[in-house]
Symmetry: D2
Subunit: 344 residues, 4 copies
Amino acid sequence: MLQFQCDYSEGAHPRILQALCDTNFEQTPGYGEDIYCQRASELICQKCNAPRASVHFLVGGTQANFILLAAALRPHQGAVCAQSGHINVHESGAVEACGHKVLPLPSTDGKIYAQQVKDYVTAHWQDPTHEHMVQPKLVYISNPTEVGTIYTKAELTALYSVCQENGLYLYIDGARLGFALTCRENDLTLSDIASLCDAFTIGGTKAGALFGEALVIQNHALKQDFRYILKQKGGMLAKGRLLGLQFLTLLGDDLYFALCRHGNEMARKIRQSCEQNNIPLLFDSPTNQQFPILANQDLARLSQQFAYSYWQAVDESHTAVRFCTSWATTPENTQALCSALLAL
Amino acid sequence: MLQFQCDYSEGAHPRILQALCDTNFEQTPGYGEDIYCQRASELICQKCNAPRASVHFLVGGTQANFILLAAALRPHQGAVCAQSGHINVHESGAVEACGHKVLPLPSTDGKIYAQQVKDYVTAHWQDPTHEHMVQPKLVYISNPTEVGTIYTKAELTALYSVCQENGLYLYIDGARLGFALTCRENDLTLSDIASLCDAFTIGGTKAGALFGEALVIQNHALKQDFRYILKQKGGMLAKGRLLGLQFLTLLGDDLYFALCRHGNEMARKIRQSCEQNNIPLLFDSPTNQQFPILANQDLARLSQQFAYSYWQAVDESHTAVRFCTSWATTPENTQALCSALLAL
Amino acid sequence: MLQFQCDYSEGAHPRILQALCDTNFEQTPGYGEDIYCQRASELICQKCNAPRASVHFLVGGTQANFILLAAALRPHQGAVCAQSGHINVHESGAVEACGHKVLPLPSTDGKIYAQQVKDYVTAHWQDPTHEHMVQPKLVYISNPTEVGTIYTKAELTALYSVCQENGLYLYIDGARLGFALTCRENDLTLSDIASLCDAFTIGGTKAGALFGEALVIQNHALKQDFRYILKQKGGMLAKGRLLGLQFLTLLGDDLYFALCRHGNEMARKIRQSCEQNNIPLLFDSPTNQQFPILANQDLARLSQQFAYSYWQAVDESHTAVRFCTSWATTPENTQALCSALLAL
Amino acid sequence: MLQFQCDYSEGAHPRILQALCDTNFEQTPGYGEDIYCQRASELICQKCNAPRASVHFLVGGTQANFILLAAALRPHQGAVCAQSGHINVHESGAVEACGHKVLPLPSTDGKIYAQQVKDYVTAHWQDPTHEHMVQPKLVYISNPTEVGTIYTKAELTALYSVCQENGLYLYIDGARLGFALTCRENDLTLSDIASLCDAFTIGGTKAGALFGEALVIQNHALKQDFRYILKQKGGMLAKGRLLGLQFLTLLGDDLYFALCRHGNEMARKIRQSCEQNNIPLLFDSPTNQQFPILANQDLARLSQQFAYSYWQAVDESHTAVRFCTSWATTPENTQALCSALLAL
C-alpha cells in the first residue's frame, strides 16, 4: 500500500534524529529557555528579517492557533476566516473553547480577500446593533490553504492593508508554509510573510520535523505575557530543547525549503498526470495537496494500491479525493501513482 | 413619533405593576425560593401538561439561552441552529463565551427542518475525522423565529423525532412564544410545545412583563444542578419574587395569550395594508413582526412619523424594514401606520 | 416571624414603585440607551465628582462582578481578594467560569491590606517560575465587606497606591456600599470611593431598589467595548429604563443614603443590645450585618420568633449567626429583637 | 556545574531514541491511531490489570491534567486538591481557563486525606447556600506529591472510598508515578493504583521519555468522546506513533521502573548524607526530590558547583532548596553532591 493520505505519516528527516541523538545527554533548562531554542529563535528572526519578532516553539498546529488567538482577543472579539478554515472546521471547536466565535466568510478556493474582509468589518460597525454581535478583531488565513491554494504577494499586501486600516490583526497559519513558499507559482519570501502579518507559524510537523510549529509574533501588542498563556494552554514543552533543535536543524541550511520543494515536485507530477489524462481537479493547487475528481469505479481500483483521503462527493458517480505528498514521498511511489492515474 | 421599532419599549401590563405594589412589603426568601415562584412554576407545569417539568425564572432571553446551553453541553459539543438564529447573530457570542460552537444551517425563512438536521448529524458521524469537528448535540430553534415565521405541529414533531433518534436535545427559544401560539395560522398548543422539545422558554419581556423568561425543562438529564449554573452565570435574581409574581399574573387567567393575540392582530392589520397596496413582504410572518420592502423614498417619508427597524437593503432603491407590534401597541397608532402604508 | 435573615426580602421603596408606574407607558429605546439611564449616569458622575466615568446599570451583583472582571483580565490573569470575598465563596465559580483564577489572601476581618497585596505581588514577580503561575492583575474588595466591616480612607488610599504602583486594577464591590458610607465610623465619601479605585459598584438591590447595581468605571482602559461584554454575559437589560429610573429615584435627593443610614441605625441597636448583655460579636461591624455568638440553647429560643442566618459554629455549645437589617426593617421589629437579646 | 535542578534536563533513554530511529520511515496513521499506540495501550491495560481501561497518550502533564478535568466536570463543578497541588499552583490557571475552580485544602506534606475530603464535601452539602458555591466533584492528588511524599495503600484506599461514597471522581497525577512505585517505602503496585482511582497518568517526561504522559481512564463515565476534547485542547499529537512507541519501550520490560528506581536510589544517598550531617529536611520524601534546609552561607558555597531549585526561606539565615535526581543522574555526580553535603 503506497501512502498519499497525509503529510505526517513518517517520522523526521534523519538529520533531525541525528541532532537529537547527538545532544541527548546535554543538560539544558526546561520550558524553552535553552540555548537551542534561543539559537533557533535568532535564526528565524534573521531569516524573516524581523529582528524584533518574538518566537515561540509549540508542539502542534491546533495548539498554536488557539493559543495565539486566546492571547490576542478580548472576550467579545472573534476571528474572521474562510468557511473552510482549519479553525472553523477541523479543530473540534478549539477557538470557541477559548471563548471566541469564529466568523466564517464564504470561499470557494480556501482563500479570503481584502474586499471581503473590508465589507464584513464595515457592515459590523455600521450595524446599529453591533454591540449585540461578535466584534471582528483578527483575520485568520492559512498559506497554503487547506485546499492547497496560495496567496500572491499582491493579495496578501491588500489583505494586510485592510486589516491595518480596520484595527484587525492578521494571523497566518503556516502549518504547510514551506510548501507555499517553495512552489513554482509563489512570489512571496519568508521575510515578505513576516512583514505582511502580525503573527504567523512556520510548520515543522509536515516538513521534516517529528513535530513542532514555530510561532513568530511581529506585533508588539501580541507579545506581552505570551509565555503565561503558552503554559496555561498546555503549549510549553518541558524539554523545549527538542523543539529548538529541530528548527535549528531544519532552517540551518534551508533543509526546510529543500524538503518542501521536494514535496511540491512530487505533487506536481501527480497533477500533470491528471491533466494529461483529463482528470479534473477540484482546486487549483500548486502545492503538495492535489484534489482530483475521479469516477467512483476508478477510485475503487486505485484504492487497492494507494491510500488517499476522501474529500467530497461531486456527483453520483464521481468523488473528489486528496493525494498528499510530503518531504518523505519517494519518486518511485509518485511514479507508481502517476502511472496508475494515466492508466485510468 | 409612533413606535413600531421593537416589542419592549413600554413597561408592564398594569396588572403586573399592581401585583408588584400589592406584595411589595411581603418578606420572602430570595433567589427564586419564594411562594410566588413556586406557584408560578406549578401553574406553568399545569398549563403545559408537564407535571414533572423544572421551571426556572430568568431576567432575560440571552441569559436563558446560554445558561441552558451551558448546562446541556459538554466542551466538545455545539448547538445547531438556523444561520439567522438569535444565538448565532445577536447575542455577542454568548454561547461561544461558554465554550461552545454554534453550528449554523442555511435558512431563508428563519426555520430549520428535520431533514436538514438529520443530514447534518449523519454527515458528522460518517466523517472519518469527526473527532476533529464539533459534535452536534443540541438543536436551537425559536418559535416564532427571528423573522416572525412559525413552526407547524407537523414540522416540530418531525424535528423532535430526528433529535430523539440522533441523541440531540431540542431547545425552543420562546422569547415571543405567545405570539406564535396565538396567531391565526398556529396549530400548536402550549402543551404541544412542552411535549415536543427538551426545554423551552416562555418569554415575558415582550409580552406584558417588565422582564422575565420562564425556562421549562422537560428532559430530566438537563435538570440536575441547574440552579448552580443559574447562579454562576448571573441568572439568579435576588428578589426572585418579582419574576414568579409576573408569570403568575400573566398566566393566571391567560392574560399572556390575550396580550400576544392583540399584538398579532395589530400586526395583521399592517400586513393587510401592505398586501392591499402591493407592498411586498420579505418574510411570510403571521406574528407581530412584519417586514415590508419599501422604496427608499417612501421610507424617508414614513420615518418622519413612524419608528421602525432597518432590516436589509434589497436593491439600490428598496429596503426591507421591520415594523413590530406588542401587547401595548394601540389600535390608533396601528391605524395611523396602515393609512400611511396605503397612501404610499 | 420577624425577618433578619437578609437585606433583600422586601421589594422596593414606594417612591421607586411610583416612578415605575408613572413612566410605565413611555416608549423608550432598549438596552440602557434611554433617557433615564442617561440622566442617572450623569447624576452618578456628578455625585462621584467623576465627570469622565462610564456608568453601566446591571441587574445583579454577581453579574456586575464577573462582567467587570471578564472585561479587565487577560486569560492568564487573576483577581486577588480576601479568602472570604464574595467572588471566592458565594458566586458558584462565576469568575472561574470566565476563565480566571481567584487568588485568595488570608483575612480575619473580611478585609485585605496594602501590605498583603504588595507582598503577594512582589512574591509573584520574584518567583523564577512566575510564568507558571496566575498573574495577579486585579484586586477585588467589598466595602462593607461580607462580614460588615469597612475600609478607612487611609486603608483604601494605601491599597490603591499599592495597586497603582504594581499595575493592578482595584475594584470595589459595593453591593452594600450605602451602608458603608453612612455608618458612624465611616470617613469615606462617594467621591473618595470614585477616586480611590478603577471601578466600583453602587448596589441598589439591598438599598431600596427592586434590583440593580450601578457599575462606575473610572479607569479608561476598562471602558472600551464594555457594552459588548455586558450583552454577551447577559447583563444588558432589554428595558434598561427600569434600572436608570431606579437609580435616578434613589440618588435624586439622597434617598439612597437615608435608607442605608436607617438600616445601620437598626443594626446599631442590635449591636448595643448584644454588648449590653455581654454577647460577643464575631466581627466588629459598624454596618447593617451583626454577628453575635450565642449559646445554642438561646438560639433555639430566638429562632421561634426571629429569622436569621447561620454563620459558623464557634464551639460545641455556641454558634455565630447573622442578623441583617435593611432599609425596610422597622423600629418595632428591631426593638423586639433587642428585647429578646437583652432577655437571654 | 552538576545539575540537580529538575528531572527533565536530559533527553531520553537511549533505547527510546533507538526505537524512534528504527521506525522513522514507517508510515502510520496519525493522531494516536497507529499500531504502536494500540500496543502500548494494551500493554498498559495488562500491566494495570485493567482490561477495560481507556488509554490516551499526551505530550505533557499540564495538558493531561486540564483535559481530564475538562472532560470530567460540568460548569459548576470544581476539583479539590492540596493547597500545594500542581493544578493549584504551577499550571498558570489551566483548570480555571477551562472554567473550573480549584478547591484547595490545607496540607503540610503535599497530601490530602480521606477525612479532609469527607469533611469538605459534607460541609458543602450541608450549607443551605450550597448552590451559590462551587460543587466539589473531583479530587486531584499527585503521587508522589509535589514535595516527594507518597500515599500508602491504606491512605489511598480510604480516600477512594470517600470519593465513591460521595460521588466524587479521584484522579491521580502520576507525572512522577514511577518514583512513587519504586521507592522503598511504597506499598502500592501499578494495578493497585489502577483500581483505586477513576483516572491517572503514568508520566514519561520525567522517567526516560523525550516527553509523554499516558492517561489511563478507568471510570466508564469519563471515557465518552474523550478524543474530541483531546483534539480541542491541543492534546492530540499528529504523529501519535512517537508517544505509543516511547511507552511501549519504557514499559516493555519494565525499563520504566528500573529508571525510576535508579533516581530514587540517587536521592536516597543525598538524603542519607543530609541525615548523617544533621541537615534537616523540609519534607519526609522517599522519592527523587529532597528538600534540605541549609544555612545560606553553605548554600552560597554549594551553588558554585551544584544547580538546585530554590524552595522557600525558612528563617533569616536558612533556606530550603530542592535537589532532584532522575533516571539520568550519575552515581558520580551524586557522590560529589553527597561529599559536599557531608563537608558542610
